[in-house]
Each structure stands twice: as structure tokens, then as C-alpha cells.
Symmetry: C2
Subunit: 345 residues, 2 copies
């Protein structure tokens, strides 16, 4: 068995020779070759130039024996063709110039097919897939409706999600209208990524952990269920990732996905038991653990593998994206540790 | 039964005529009378002028029928006499000019008794207690060792806690040395608050939710256990509050406290069952729910009261501090809703 099949088999809970591993944001700022490229090109420019975006997608593959590649893109790209005025300001993170806060704002969102508004992403998928030449599978991705809604409503990142929750609580019809629009858009976009060659998908509901269980059930679950039901027809495994979801795991499972992404706040064994063993899991090393000495990283990898108990259906990953300041050698040590400590041959 | 006893009885899990309620940061920026005072005085100046700090402590009591007052102060004041260079920069949050990142830094921390370095807080406690005239009890408070350590190490607020965890993982002896020092300091400070008249205490471990269960157990639990064991001798109820603790609740309980503070991420009924009914709970309305229409606030209050099941030992509160932009009338509506919907007479 080779790296070409390990990740997809684990997503389907089939036995593998060792636990597959990839790293969220593995094609990103902790790589010196990425920083060199980024010094010459703006972030959106990189995303929109398939030749460059495909090159970035392959960077971690050339350097590390990871078991999957993930498309270089951003979860917010899908919002641009909707006409909200997406910008990436240097140092300040994403900005949405025309936030959506009323039913009229929701109705005014443009409907543009992915092939038209996001053709550059689909071209990146085709190019990256071709260059990977089946060494490892390619993961496509998108933001989940709630996380996208939070950016669109707040006008950027947020700590409290005040405008997002205020819309939910004061105008539920507008809220559900927005979530439906985002769900449809995300589904169409991800289906187009699969058609272009993506072999698995990850849906990032990065900020959904700001909600309590009642709010998740009322305002998010129906839309996530619709999203995952539509994606199931794509025939590729779908990973459902969120952070801060310790109190939401049963509902996250109910929403759907073949693999549930876990952050580092939860014990993997506890979380998998709560989710049920008829779903695969991904995770869950604390990204900051990569700042520990290599022996400590190995110890922590070993502990997570122990918690997974050698059960088929574990994809090793961090609990959130790798941090830009992470020592490169420690990333290599992590990947080697996963493969060595999980070797079952 | 009156407001004078309701809160303390609930902390001790004794029956009450209605569920007591107070609000984290109730003496703060959402109050116009506070903003007026703050326009004329710096934040540290307010804290350090007992006459003014006592006046702020009583502001919410004059306006709302809350069941407890909480000392106006800041969790970081305790750090100033240790010599780390605490400042509150306008708009930027707290700054620690001389962060602690080595064993030598830990050993260099000054040892100053609370009566000397924090005499102004103790004087505020005395003044506020006198002016409350037993209308409602006065809660004293301090930051927990982990949360204080995170500020001292990072040099201010943080999102990733990179330096904090790096110290833990690379120099555990320095880490434990710092936690011991902070624990001793917090205990002595809180005991002095009780001696000055505080009738209950809250320990804020606001940021401990950034840790997974293994790290909490290894790096925090022993120090929290020591802290709560020492405080038990004070004879007043102690509230143990944290956010993001959904995966840590059993360990938080093990650490100690008569009342466990819950944030809004968890279902109160689930959380209380996990904690055990031999401890009281406090919480847990989402602070952002106060931006909802009043009928929706009442509905949410009712739901939390239902989850508490009328069991003695529930103190109603938000899941974290009230936000500065919160409509004043909605705070009043919340407090009335708690009292009306929980009336057992």
C-alpha cells in the first residue's frame, strides 16, 4: 500500500498500512518557498493564477511525505462573485466591503456559476491534479455556510459574532435565506471541484463553535444536512471540520460528512466514542505542540495514535491550521512520527 | 427570603424563593454612568481610587435588582506589584512590558503582600461592603494562575498562546515554578479580600479553554487544586469560572470550587450532570443573546431555567462578560425574566 491510497482508504474506514497524515494550511506561510513566492505576488493574485496556485499546492508534497495534497485557495473566494466586495488587506485579514445584514442584502447577492466566477480555482484543481500524477490524492475545499455567513455579516473576522447572532435572533427568515443561498453556492462550487479532479472534499465550519447546541440545531443543522446530503452524491469522501465543537459533536455528526475533523480541545478517544465508530475522524494535535522539542512532539503523536486505538478510519492532522512561525523541521518530525509510530506492517 | 441571602444560599445549594442572578462585568462599560465617569478618569486610576471603584461597584445595584455585587477591579491588577510592567493602553487592552519567559524571569518576580501592593483593592472592598449595607452580598475575585500566566508570558492578550504553551512544553520546571508563585499570590490576595469583607469569591480562568484535557491535567490541575484547597479555609463560597471548557468539565470540577461557572457553549443540563449535583453551577446565557428582542431573551432565560430543573444550586449569569454595546433595557429584561420565570413562591 502506498501514499496514493492511504488517505482515501482511511476516509472510508478501510485498513491502512499506517495512519495517513496531512496538515491544514500545509501549503502556506510556514514554508520558505511559499514566502519567497508571496513576496512577489499578492495573496489574491496567487489564488487567481492557476499556474502559481498549483505550484503552491504541490510545495508540501515536494518537501514532506504527506498523504494528501490540499488545493491552495481561501474559503472566502466563493464570496467574491456574490458581489460583497472581498479584499485581503495586508496584515488585517479579510474584509467584506458590503456586509449582508438584511433580507434585501440577501436577495441582492449575485448568482454566478462557479465555472464562471471561480474558474481559476477549477483550473488550479486540474493543473494540481495533473502534476500530482496520483502520487497523493487532492483535497478540494470550501467554507461551510455558517462560517461564510459570519464573515459576510460581520464584514470580516470577529470575536463575538454579534451581528451574525443578532441577525439570527431578530430576523430568522433573512438568516435562513442567507444560509440557503450559501449552502447552494458551496454545493455547486464543490461539485465543480470534484468534476475538475478533486478526490476528497473538506468543508470548513471553522467558527461554528461560537454557538451553543440549541442555536446550532435551530440555525445551522438544517443547512449543513442539506449541504452534506447534496455532496454525498459526488462520490468522494467529505470531511466536516470545525473548531470549538466539543459540546456540538453529536449535532456535527448528525449534520453529515464521512470524516469528522476534531480540534485539540477534545480527547480523540472520547470524541470518537461520542460520534460513533461508523464515521471516520481527523485530528487532533494542537498546532502549538509543534513548538515543543521533537521528542515531545513524538510523545504527543504517540498518545493521539493510542487514543485512536489502531481502528481504521483515523486521518492524522493538526486540530487547526499550522502556524506561520512553526519550525519546518518539526513539521517533518511530526509526519515521520505519525508514519513510524503507526506502522502496522 | 430577600436578595440579601438568595445568592449565597444558591452557592451552597440551599433552596431559594427564586433563582439569583448577577452579570459578569455588570459594573462596566454598558452603563452610561460608568462611561461618564470613565471619560474623566483612566481605567487604572478608577481601580486605584477606592472611592470611585466602590461607586462603580454599586452602580448596577442602584439600577437593577441583581442578587450580588462584584468588586470593580481587573484580574491583572495582582500582577503589577510583581514588577512585570502592567499597562492598560487605550483601545489595545492590557500590556505586560516585561514578559516572563524563563526560570530566571520567574525567580525575579517580586513578592509583595496584598495589603501593601493591592491595599487600594482591599479598601474598595471595605467601602463597597459598607455602602451595600447588606442589600446584596459582595463578590471578590482574582484571575486564576493559568490565565494570569498566559498574560504574563505572552505580554498581553493572545489568540494562540504560543509562548505560554512553548514554555510549558520546553521548560516544565519554569512553568510549574511560575504557576506556584501565581497560585500563592492569588490565594493570599483573595484571603485578604475576604478579610476586608468579600462574602464570596470568583476565580476567573477565562482562557484555560485553549488547552486540551491532557495539558490541563499535567500543567494546570495541580495548581488549581492547591488554590481551591487553600481558599476552602476562607469560609466563603468560591466560584470557579472558565470559558471554552466543554471538554474539561470533569477536570475543572476535580480542581475545586463550590460553584462551577459555565459558558454558553454547553447545555446546562448536560454540563451539570457531568459535573455532579454535589456542586452548584453558574450560567449560562450567551452575552450576544442580549441583542435579541426582549421576548426572545425571555424565551432563552426560560430554557436555561428549565435545564436547571429547579434544582437548588443554580446562579443565573451570562456565559461570559456583558458586552459594552448591550442595550441597557435588555439587561433589565434579563434580570426580571430570571426572577419572574423562576419564582417558586
Amino acid at each position: 500500500m502506498s501514499a496514493a491510497t492511504r488517505f482515501l482508504r482511511a476516509c472510508r474506514r478501510q485498513p491502512t498500512d499506517r495512519t495517513p497524515v496531512w496538515i491544514m494550511r500545509q501549503a502556506g506561510r510556514y514554508l520558505p518557498e511559499y514566502r519567497t513566492l508571496r513576496a512577489r505576488h499578492g495573496f489574491l493574485e496567487l489564488c487567481k493564477t492557476p499556474e502559481l496556485a498549483a505550484r503552491v499546492t504541490l510545495m508540501p508534497i515536494e518537501r514532506f511525505p504527506v498523504d494528501a495534497a490540499i488545493l491552495f485557495a481561501d474559503i472566502l473566494l466563493v464570496l467574491e462573485p456574490m458581489g460583497v466586495g472581498l479584499e485581503f488587506a495586508a496584515g488585517d485579514g479579510p474584509i467584506i466591503r458590503r456586509p449582508v445584514r438584511t433580507r434585501a442584502d440577501v436577495d441582492a447577492l449575485a448568482r454566478v456559476p462557479a465555472a464562471e466566477g471561480l474558474g481559476y480555482v477549477l483550473e488550479t484543481v486540474r493543473l494540481a491534479r495533473e502534476r500530482l500524477a496520483d502520487r497523493v490524492p487532492l483535497i478540494g475545499f470550501a467554507g461551510a455556510p455558517f462560517t461564510l455567513a459570519s464573515y459576510v455579516i460581520e464584514g470580516g473576522g470577529s470575536r463575538q459574532y454579534r451581528h451574525t447572532k443578532t441577525l439570527m435572533y431578530t430576523d430568522p427568515a433573512a438568516w435562513h435565506g442567507l444560509m440557503e443561498r450559501l449552502s447552494e453556492t458551496v454545493v455547486e462550487y464543490l461539485q465543480a471541484q470534484v468534476a475538475a479532479g478533486a478526490q476528497a472534499l473538506q468543508v470548513f465550519d471553522s467558527w461554528v463553535g461560537c454557538l451553543g447546541p440549541d442555536d446550532y440545531r435551530a440555525y445551522v443543522l438544517p443547512h449543513m444536512r442539506a449541504t452534506f446530503a447534496a455532496l454525498a452524491a459526488s462520490g468522494v469522501p467529505v470531511i466536516h471540520f470545525g473548531t470549538g465543537t466539543a459540546a456540538l459533536l453529536e449535532l456535527v455528526r448528525e449534520a453529515g460528512g464521512d470524516v469528522i475533523g476534531l480540534d485539540w480541545h477534545v480527547d480523540l478517544a472520547d470524541a470518537w466514542r461520542r460520534l460513533g465508530y461508523d464515521v471516520a475522524v481527523q485530528g487532533n494535535l494542537d498546532p502549538v505542540a509543534l513548538f515543543a522539542p521533537v521528542e515531545e512532539i513524538r510523545r504527543r503523536v504517540g498518545r493521539i495514535l493510542e487514543r485512536a486505538g489502531g481502528r481504521p478510519g483515523h486521518v492524522f492532522n493538526l486540530g487547526h491550521g499550522v502556524l506561520p512561525e512553526t519550525p519546518l523541521a518539526h513539521v517533518g518530525a511530526l509526519i515521520d512520527a505519525v508514519h513510524e509510530l503507526s506502522a502496522r506492517d
